[in-house]
């Protein structure tokens, strides 16, 4: 993000030319543009994270707020330091003592990974079709992909209950056409969760894929054809590698929110589904244990951020090697 900001910011600074004043103004503007994302991150990511992290080091209490110590400066600096000394890593040790948390993390990651692959499989042909469609109807197709966002997410997930339930639309259709003779039990199973996630997150996969595929130069495919490469070979050797940035962006946009997904498993999934979102809910609401739930949240964040950072580093290295 920061490198993108630098390039966009430095462009007006170099092109400005003319008077020194304008150049100074442009430089100031450039700085400002870089600062905005940092300020955003500070207020909406770092500070909330520090607060959550601090709560994860506290202990529960029957009070408002329901943990102790609630840091304040009423006791002066020494009082504040005394409060800091009460913080401990006990809650993190707790998480390692019960396999529940580990299993919940693993299940969430697996469900998210499977959903991401399925979304990619469904989304890629859609994005490819859109990118190859005549330029005149592309905006319409794009609109159709975005259209579901105009309805509430919750209503759309609820609608799937009506479709998937044993007496629902899908079963009625299949029974009427004689494909099945017993209603399929789909609602409240993992299948329903996958359907829900794939459906809900599909636009997040299609849009980056479309933008990658649309930019592609299709004369490359023609060239491959001329040189005797079969269509599948051309796809894997040219189209897919060129769309890779879109694939990666789409997968991250689906995978990350899917790991912490709570609504879809709650509404469509069965009770046996143990995901980290539900575990977190239990700690926070049922046990009123804000510290442990904060610890669960911190670990979840690390679980998501570390692979992304490793991935970005690998990508940056690959880019350098290309040069």
């Amino acid at each position: 993000m920061s490198s993108a900001a630098v390039t966009t910011a430095s462009a007006p600074a170099t092109n400005a030319g003319g008077s020194a004043l304008a150049r100074l103004g442009a430089a100031f503007f450039g700085r400002l543009v870089i600062i905005v994302p940092y300020v955003w991150l500070l207020f909406f990511f770092l500070i909330p994270f520090v607060i959550v992290f601090k709560i994860s080091l506290s202990q529960t209490a029957i009070a408002i707020p329901p943990y102790t110590p609630a840091l304040d400066f009423s006791g002066g600096i020494s009082g504040f330091i005394a409060q800091l000394k009460q913080l401990s890593l006990d809650n993190y040790t707790w998480l390692t003592q019960d396999a529940l948390y580990f299993n919940a993390y693993v299940t969430s990651v697996i469900i998210a990974a499977i959903s991401t692959v399925l979304t990619l499989l469904v989304g890629y042909p859609i994005a490819y079709g859109m990118a190859r469609a005549p330029a005149t109807i592309r905006p319409t197709l794009l609109m159709l992909v975005i259209l579901p966002f105009w309805t509430s997410f919750l209503i759309r997930v609820y609608a799937w209950i009506g479709i998937l339930k044993p007496e629902g639309l899908l079963n009625q259709l299949l029974l009427a056409t004689g494909v099945i003779h017993q209603p399929l039990i789909i609602l409240n199973t993992y299948t329903a969760i996958f359907i829900g996630i794939v459906y809900s997150y599909l636009p997040f996969m299609v849009l980056p894929l479309y933008s990658a595929l649309e930019k592609m130069d299709y004369s490359l495919i023609e060239a491959a054809k001329d040189l005797g490469c079969p269509p599948t070979g051309a796809f894997w050797k040219i189209t897919f590698p060129l769309s890779l940035p879109g694939v990666i962006a789409g997968c991250l946009l689906v995978f990350i929110p899917a790991v912490g997904e709570f609504v879809i498993p709650d509404l469509l999934g069965g009770s046996q589904t143990l995901m980290i979102g539900k575990t977190l809910w239990n700690e926070f609401f049922a046990n009123r244990d804000w510290p442990v739930s904060s610890a669960v949240a911190v670990i979840l964040l690390l679980l998501l951020i570390v692979p992304i950072m490793l991935f970005q580093r690998a990508q940056a290295r690959a880019q350098e090697m290309d040069r």
Partner: protein, 365 residues
């Protein structure tokens, strides 16, 4: 649950704006009550009579309410937690004592109920009853008849006996996703103290629940209303009034679904939803006026007639529909009433065991 939570955060944001932006002369009371739990004409009547505007907001789980209260600065003036939650919240210092001089209608209250609620709130210093009910068995009469050969359920045995519940598995069984309601019921079925905090007893309850687990389709605390009404399931362990709402919806839909409700003879849980005023309420006078208004016999009777729950107001009973007052499932007779047990709040350590046990029952892990 989540649907409500999202909805709530939106409405409470609105509420905050409202209270900040409101003029000093506008008299307002911010009420936070359970969903589907009032005849909305009561609110209009209250505003007409007193000139106090009611900002009415709803929740559907005690946990959501409690979290808001414990976070502080909820912005609400009247809230309606259940007894066991109320008790713990009083301990946490969430509420202020009621000013009884402002509540002349307290004289209408029903001593049988007040006596029981004083277990949660000694002397009823902080709260007064809104509605009360039981946790029992709601069922689809025809489907149960087909599966079990009887249309009358009167015992926990139909639910906790694995063989019996297995017969109902295919037509669908829903259970409250609430250990604080289900574990005590299992303990009661076993003949143990429903309020036991002993790890051994809780383990026994877990064993009973695990045996019937394969027959349970879903654990959820509100979906069973629709599921029963639509005929999607044949049995649910749930709150009395919710089951009656399902019954009424089924009648309105005219699809031939008939719903019954049983208070098991072994004894069932009786719960109380109590009106209370948060310690940091901004409109304390208005809150008292609202609570006092809700204790008017004809007002609370109107609410009972609408939501199909019994209330703790003795004087209101002459205004309650006869069909409701005479329905032993809503207003149990004395003999049944004596068998009903209350559930006490868990200490944090037991709470953790209970939640963990529940997760194991529900997810198998």
């Amino acid at each position: 649950m989540i649907r409500k939570a999202l909805w709530l955060s939106a409405t409470s944001a609105f509420l905050t704006l409202f209270t900040v932006g409101g003029h000093a002369e506008d008299r307002v009371v911010n009420v936070f009550n359970w969903s589907d739990y009032i005849d909305s004409s009561i609110i209009d009547d209250f505003t007409k009579e007193t000139g106090i505007k009611v900002v009415y907001d709803t929740f559907d789980s005690n946990e959501i309410l409690e979290t808001k209260l414990l976070a502080g600065g909820s912005g609400y003036d009247v809230v309606v937690p259940s007894g066991n939650f109320l008790a713990r919240q009083i301990q946490a210092g969430v509420f202020q004592k009621l000013d009884k001089s402002k509540l002349p209608n307290l004289s209408n209250m029903w001593d049988v109920i007040s006596e029981r609620t004083s277990k949660y709130d000694p002397g009823n210093e902080y709260s007064t009853n809104y509605m009360w009910g039981t946790v029992g068995i709601g069922y689809n009469i025809k489907k149960v008849q087909a599966a079990l050969g009887t249309d009358k359920i009167d015992s926990w045995d139909v639910f906790f006996n694995p063989e019996s519940l297995a017969k109902l598995k295919d037509c669908g069984v829903y259970v409250l996703d609430s250990p604080a309601d289900m574990i005590p019921a299992a303990l009661k079925y076993l003949g143990l103290d429903p309020n036991s905090t002993s790890a051994d007893d809780i383990a026994k309850a877990e064993e009973v629940m695990l045996k019937i687990r394969p027959s349970i389709r879903k654990f959820h605390s509100s979906e069973y209303i629709n599921a029963l009404a639509n005929g999607d399931i044949c049995l649910a362990v749930g709150f009395s009034g919710d089951v009656f709402q399902a019954r009424n919806r089924a009648q309105e839909a005219k699809q031939g679904v008939e719903i019954g409700y049983a208070v098991p003879k072994e004894g069932a849980q009786i719960w109380f939803d109590q009106m209370a005023i948060p310690a940091d309420a901004q409109h304390v006078t208005e809150a008292h006026e609202f609570i006092n208004y809700m204790m008017k016999p004809e007002v609370i009777a109107k609410s009972s007639n609408f939501v199909l729950y019994a209330n703790g107001n003795k004087a209101s009973q002459q205004f309650v529909d006869k069909a409701i007052l005479d329905d032993p499932a809503i207003y149990p007779d004395v003999a049944t009433l004596q068998k009903l047990y209350t559930v006490q709040p868990y200490d944090p350590k037991t709470q953790r065991i209970i939640t963990r046990t529940w997760t194991k029952i529900v997810t198998g892990q």
